[in-house]
Every structure is written in C-alpha cells, then in structure tokens.
C-alpha cells in the first residue's frame, strides 16, 4: 500500500531556482542550511586557530616560572580572550554549524524553519568576532578580567574611557547571545515542526535529541546571562551600582547570573558531542545504539538537571552551607544520566565489528578523555575537595579534558565522518590518523599535568608561579605545542581533500540515516522529489529493515 502511494504522490513544487553552489556561495547571504552550516564551521575554525594562538602564548609564558615572555597585562588579556574566543566564537558556532548542516537532513526537512533568520544569526558571528578582536586596538587593550568578568575587577576600567576592552567584550558577548537565541528558536522550531512523515520523536537520531536538549538550554539560560551582562554594562558605563560593593551593590549576585547560564552552557557544548558519539559508534561498530530510547531521553534529563547546579562554581564564594550541600548533591546527580550514555556506548561497541577509521578513533579517544574529566568533575562537586582545588589548575585540567578531550575531539570526529557528505570528497585516512595521534598524545601531555599542579596548589590565571611547579608546567607546555602542531595535518587534509580528494559515494560508511540516502553533497533542497517517509527507528544495523519507504524516490 505505502509504496503505491509513494509512486504517485505529487511532488511539492520547488520553491525557487538556485544558482549552483560555488566557493562564492560561501561568502554570500545564502539561506541554504547546508551553506550556512559550512559557513559557521569554517568561521568558527578560524577563531579556534586564533584562540589557539592565544593559548600558545599562555603556554609559552608558563614554560618558565617568571613572568618573562609577555607583560602581565598581556598575559591576563590572553587567557581572557582565549577563554572567550574558544567558547563564544569556536564551540558555540561550530556546534551551531554542525546542527545546521545535519538536523534538517537527519529529520528529513528541506531546510530550517526560518532560513533567513538562520543567515542573520550566522552573519552576526563574524561581526561580534571582529568587535572582540578590535579590542586589541583600543587603549588599554582587550578585557583582562577573565572570561567570567567578575566585578569589581571587570568594572575597574583603568583607562578611564568609555570604549575600553571590557565594553567591547560585553558588546560581543551580548551579540553572541542574541545570535545564539535566534539560532535556538530556529532549531527548536525545526525539530518540533519540520520532521518528515513517519519521523516520530522516537525515530529521531540521538544527535537530533541532543541538539534539541542543548538548544533548550540556550533558551532558558542565555537570557539570565544577558540580564547580568546588561547590569554589568550599566555599572561599567553610566555608574550604576548593581555589583559595586563600595556603593551598596552585590558582586556575588553577578556570579549567580553568570553561572546560571555558564554552567548549563557546558552542557550546550557537550550534549551535541554526546549526539555525535551516539551516531558514530553504531556505524563503526556495526551495531544498533544500545538502549536508544533511554539514551535519547537522558539528554532531556541532563537539560533539566543542568539548570539547578550552577552554585558548584561558587563553593568558595561565601555560599551558605545548606546551599553548598544542596548543589553538591544536584551536581553529582548529573553523573546518572551521563553514566547511562557512557555505558550505552560501551555496550554498543562491545561485541561489534569495529573499524578504526579516523572518525571512530576520535570518538573513542574523546570518550575515554570524557570519562576521565567526568570523574574529576565529580571530585570538584564534592565541596571539601573543591574548597582545596577551586581556582587551581585542577579545574583547568578538568575542563580542558572535557572541552578539548571530549568536545574538540568529538567535533573532529564529526567533521571527518560527515566530510564526504558535505564536500562530496573523501579525506586522506593517513593524515587523519596522524592528526588523531598528535591530538590524543598532545592533549594528554598538555592537560594531565594540570591535575597534579592543581592538587599542589598552583592557582590558575597566574603569569608567574613558584619554581616548585616548573616540572609539570614544562611538560604541559610541550604537550600544548604538540597540540598546536596537530592542527597542521588536519588543515592540510581538509584543504587538499576538498580541492582534490577522491570522489565520495553517497554512503561511504554504509551508515543508516536519512542524510546518507541523498547524494554527496546533497542537492539544495535535500530531498528534491519527495520527502522521505520514515518507517523505522534509527540504527538498524544487523537488521534487514528499510529506514524509509521511498528510498529510491528522494532525488
């Protein structure tokens, strides 16, 4: 019956004619989600390199105990800009880019719900990126108050002029927030309302679930940050006293605003990476995702919990005891839904037919580093331990393991995995493997030593330190430089493969998913002739069932 209908369904007419995609398209105000997705990804990667260069300066300074490479003000600007760029200009945009590219394809839609809004949200990224970079050229240099911008340090403004680095910082972060909210509205609407026929919620790929969960966080979290940022801006510019203790304000309140968003923000970052893991393991292990439904729902549980744990960043801020205990418990609870995912991935791999292509290597490496980071996270959640290691390198080690080890590695996994789809070319496997090993070794050399340093009591954000800490810092710096180098084979691989790689088939990995049913790269309307009619849950590996009823009629 179904196939009869399929045969004869009238094709919704194409909306308009599209010029062919050339390199010029990527510099235009395109409304094609795939173009925007790539625009986001490439722009974000440029900022990753910029943030990485800042990190190299940081590691260069820290290779010796004295403050001898750059001035202290420059060092402070470096970690402030490093953190800001890496979070607001690299992770958020690159994940928005991947979601943009993949979600409509994965749910069987022709585009996002609001294509023009999508383009607007993207074009704000280079704008606020430039604003932030411009702060290097104002008197006083860029913001130097850390990526948290805690007052009163952030409102001290030694330059005495209005257009200072901190002002531009706030402006850039506010614009980034608006862009992210617009993006979130678009993605949530798309996922809820644009799914192909038959694509019930429990037929969505786990990645789509995680993107939905992550974007919901943006919607409830970002406004709180915005509120805090607006108040800080007024304190800085017109002299209100919201956070100025000298005039009756409360600096700790800012911390609540900030972390109410910035803690959940780490799950905005990690959730889509969880999704990427859930997509990649089944493909390269040739097994269905173990416990798909539970894995899917656990994302929403993380979203819910993420809103009630923020005070764990403020255990040493002068928080009352009951609050410390409450937030300790809620924070630790996150390990339950996260553990569900971790165990499900291990069970997915277990007994499979593993193939260690580059995406799989990155996903496995990322998973291992994530588990390590999660465990140090639980240690941080324990109030007495946190009181010792708070604001030390132990924290820096914890979050680079998640944010580099799991997130950046997960993003690399995704880029390699979907590269053939996006570009129609295969990447070079050898360079990919080289990239993986340099990254994995570099990341561990770089970030593992931070844990003993923190336990020994080395504070973060210092340009100089006591000589007793030198040993581990040298190792960390060497690891950092290896990490820097690791980006070179990647860049070489991407540029040369895109220009000149082997032509990719539609489905080089024999993967199951709507995006693999269309040509590589997909046509402008994704599903030119018909929308797919979904008949099965995702990840039907080892089962002989069809994912869609009309596979041959999509294009």
């Amino acid at each position: 019956m179904t196939s009869t209908q399929t045969e004869t369904t009238k094709i919704p007419e194409k909306h308009h004619h599209h010029p062919p995609t050339t390199w010029k398209t990527f510099f235009s105000f395109s409304t094609d989600h795939k173009v925007i997705g790539i625009q986001y990804t490439v722009t974000a990667f440029i900022f990753f390199l910029i943030g990485g260069i800042f990190a190299m300066i940081i590691r260069g300074e820290l290779i010796t105990p004295e403050a001898d490479l750059v001035d202290r003000t420059v060092y402070n600007a470096m970690f402030t800009m490093h953190g800001t760029v890496m979070l607001f200009m690299w992770t958020f945009p690159v994940l928005a880019g991947l979601a943009n590219y993949l979600v409509p394809l994965m749910i069987g839609a022709r585009d996002m719900a609001f294509p023009r809004l999508n383009a607007v949200a993207f074009w704000m990224v280079p704008i606020f990126g430039i604003i932030l970079m411009a702060s290097f050229f104002v008197p006083g240099g860029p913001a130097q108050a850390g990526w948290w911008s805690y007052p009163p340090v952030s409102t001290q403004n030694p330059t005495g002029i209005l257009f200072n680095g901190q002002f531009l910082w706030l402006l850039a972060v506010a614009l980034s927030g608006i862009s992210s909210i617009l993006g979130a509205v678009n993605i949530v609407t798309t996922i809820i309302r644009m799914r192909a026929p038959g694509m019930g919620f429990f037929r969505m790929p786990a990645y789509v679930w995680t993107v939905l969960s992550a974007q919901i966080i943006q919607l409830f979290g970002l406004p709180a940050l915005t509120a805090g940022a607006v108040m800080l801006l007024f304190d800085l510019t017109v002299g209100t006293s919201f956070f100025d203790p000298a005039k009756g304000g409360d600096p700790v309140l800012y911390q609540h605003f900030f972390w109410f968003y910035s803690h959940p923000a780490v799950y905005v970052i990690i959730l889509p990476v969880f999704g990427i893991f859930s997509e990649i393991f089944p493909v390269y292990a040739r097994k269905p995702l173990f416990g798909y439904k539970v894995v899917a729902v656990s994302s929403l549980i993380i979203t819910g919990l993420s809103g009630i744990v923020w005070v764990h960043h403020m255990f040493a801020s002068g928080t009352p005891g009951w609050m410390r205990m409450l937030f300790m418990f809620s924070t630790m609870l996150i390990s339950v839904p996260t553990g569900i995912k971790v165990f499900a991935w291990v069970a997915t791999i277990w007994g499979g037919k593993l193939r260690l292509d580059t995406p799989m290597l990155f996903a496995l490496g990322g998973l291992i580093m994530f588990v390590f980071a999660g465990i140090t996270g639980i240690m941080l959640a324990s109030v007495p331990v946190d009181i010792h290691v708070n604001n030390t390198y132990f924290v820096v080690g914890h979050f680079h393991y998640v944010i580099y080890g799991a997130t950046v590695m997960g993003i690399y996994a995704a880029i390699y995995h979907w590269f053939p789809k996006m570009t129609g070319r295969m990447y070079y496997e050898g360079l990919g493997k080289l990239h993986f090993w340099l990254t994995f070794i570099g990341a561990n050399l770089n970030f593992f030593p931070m844990h003993p340093l923190g336990l020994q009591g080395m504070p973060r954000r210092v340009a100089s330190y006591d000589p007793e800490f030198a040993f581990w810092n040298v190792i960390a710096s060497i690891g950092g430089f290896i990490l820097g180098m690791s980006t070179l084979p990647f860049l070489l691989n991407m540029v040369s493969s895109w220009a000149d790689g082997k032509k990719a088939p539609d489905n080089p990995w024999r993967a199951i998913g709507l995006e693999w049913l269309v040509p590589s790269p997909p046509p402008v309307e994704n599903f030119e002739k018909q929308l797919p009619i979904v008949m099965a849950e995702p990840y039907g590996y080892g089962k002989s069932e069809d994912l869609v009823a009309n596979a041959s009629d999509l294009n």
Binding site: P152, G351, M379, N390, T392, R461
Partner: protein
C-alpha cells in the same frame, strides 16, 4: 551468561578493585603536606574519590580497550554485529549503581564537611540561612571568643593585623595546634584566601567581614596564595604563613610589637614602578598597586 564468563567477570572485578585501592592510597602523595586538621579530613575524602574514580575509569576504559583489541572487524568483513538494541535489566542496573554511588559520595562529603565545620560568611550574617552549627566537638564553645587576627587584602598585598598586640605584618604567624580565628576583609575587589597546605580557601568579598577558622597542626613555613583573580598583579599576591610552637609564637609577637612600622617590600608595587625599565612592558594602563604597606614585621 555462562559460568566461565561470570568467573572472569568476578576476577577482573577483584583485580580492578585492588588496583583502585592502591591508586587511592597513592593519592595522599599528590597533595601538599597535611599542615592543618582540615587537610587530613579532605585528604581522606579525596583518596576515597580517587579510589572510586579509578575503579570507574579503569572499568570503562578497560572494556573499551578490550573491544578495540578483540572485536575488530577483519579487513574484508563487511558483515554487521549482532543487532542487540538494549537490555532492560542491564540498563536498570547501570542507572541504579551510579545513583547509589552518588548518594554514598554525597553523604561522605557531607560528613567531612560537617567535621571541618568550615565557616562561610553567610552563616554569620544571615543566621537563619546557615546550617545548624556544624560540629560542636571540634569547635570548643568558648565563653570569650579569642581575639581574631585581621586579614586585610588589597590590590595586591596581604596585611595581617594582631589587634591585641597592635602588630601589623606581611607574614601570618600562627601557633600550632590551636584553632586560628581570622577576620577577612578586602579593600577593593574579591580576593581569595588560600593556603594549599591547609586545604582551606575562602573568597574575600569587599564590603563584608568574613570570619574564618581552621587548626594548623604542623610547624613549618607555608604559602598563602590569592585564589581569586584580582587583576594585573594577581600572581604576585602571595604571603608566607609560619606555624610555630606556642613559645616561639609568643616570642615572635614580642619581637614584632617592639619594632616600629616600616615600609614592606611589595612585589606588585615594585614591578609597577620598574615597569618602564622592563623590555617586555606593554602600554596598557593598569590599576595602580596600592602603596607598599607600613608594617611592624616583614
């Protein structure tokens, strides 16, 4: 699951447990010397967390590595693995175990916290919000509260004041095995009072007076570091903490109070004045460090 697998599982479980306990024991050596009563409590807790953490980490990575080694597809093997979609029992188990672990970790952390009876500022300001006074045993209820040592922080210096003896110092001297009572204040931004060897830390919020207490138990010289980023010369904001016997402490008080106040050395102020001589200085203006403090002892 056949018997052989169950036995293998139990054996690997035991091996894992042994390794984890061993790593947990090692963890004491990763930390600075235990110079305060608090540090002993925290180190126990940390060791416990390392043990559990090692078990989980090694268990998960062990399973992953096992699969990587033994479940590889042959080069021309294009077949799929078994289409196992889930297992309800297993899923319930691995939801329940972390949950139980969390309760265990949280309860143990709570007990340690309770024994430390760390005093945050709020407990003194808004009594109604504070926890019921944590532990009467370790904090002997005294009728006359002992004199508090005043800890002043500013960009970028620590100044300690002993009000009874009218001493100011850039070094914090404490008698061993006596509970130390401090009063933390800040003149400008948030600073962080942190002595790694004591494992104690507290943000110093400007506009508030924060009471803080702990018990040093080991004589020696330790480092006090600012733990809350406070601007340009943040890294230089350190001080020495000297824990000494009661007699020596009294002696020190006497010596210090007999000295007339003089100008102390201050790293931030000295770097700032020499700034332009430094080949790597930038022209970015910065908050000017406060004058080096006048103290009796430095």
């Amino acid at each position: 699951m056949n018997n052989r697998n169950i036995i293998l599982l139990i054996i690997s479980f035991i091996i894992l447990a042994i390794i984890s306990v061993w790593i947990g024991q090692q963890s004491y050596s990763w930390l600075p010397p235990e110079a305060a009563a608090e540090s002993i409590l925290i180190d126990h807790l940390f060791s416990f967390l390392v043990t559990i953490g090692a078990f989980i980490f090694l268990g998960v990575t062990g399973a992953i590595l096992y699969s990587i080694i033994f479940h590889r597809a042959g080069k021309y093997d294009m077949s799929d693995g078994p289409p196992i979609e889930g297992n309800v029992t297993l899923e319930v188990v691995w939801t329940a175990i972390p949950f139980v672990l969390v309760i265990w970790i949280a309860t143990y952390s709570y007990q340690i916290y309770d024994q430390m009876s760390l005093r945050g500022p709020m407990e003194h300001f808004h009594m109604s919000m504070g926890m019921p006074s944590a532990n009467a045993a370790s904090v002997p209820e005294e009728s006359t509260p002992p004199p508090k040592i005043e800890v002043h922080s500013q960009q970028w210096a620590w100044i300690f004041r002993y009000p009874e003896q009218n001493i100011t110092s850039t070094e914090l001297h404490l008698p061993v095995n006596q509970r130390a009572y401090l009063q933390l204040t800040s003149a400008d931004v948030i600073h962080g009072f942190y002595i790694p060897a004591f494992r104690v830390k507290q943000d110093v919020i400007p506009g508030e007076t924060i009471n803080f207490e702990f018990t040093p138990i080991r004589e020696g010289k330790y480092r006090l570091r600012d733990s809350q980023y406070s601007g340009t010369y943040f890294a230089t904001m350190q001080a020495n903490v000297v824990v000494e016997s009661a007699e020596k402490y009294q002696e020190w008080l006497k010596i210090a109070s007999s000295q007339p106040p003089s100008l102390a050395f201050n790293q931030a102020a000295s770097e700032y004045t020499k700034k332009t001589e430094n080949p790597i200085h930038s022209d970015w203006p910065t908050v000017i460090p406060a004058q080096p403090p006048m103290v009796n002892y430095h």
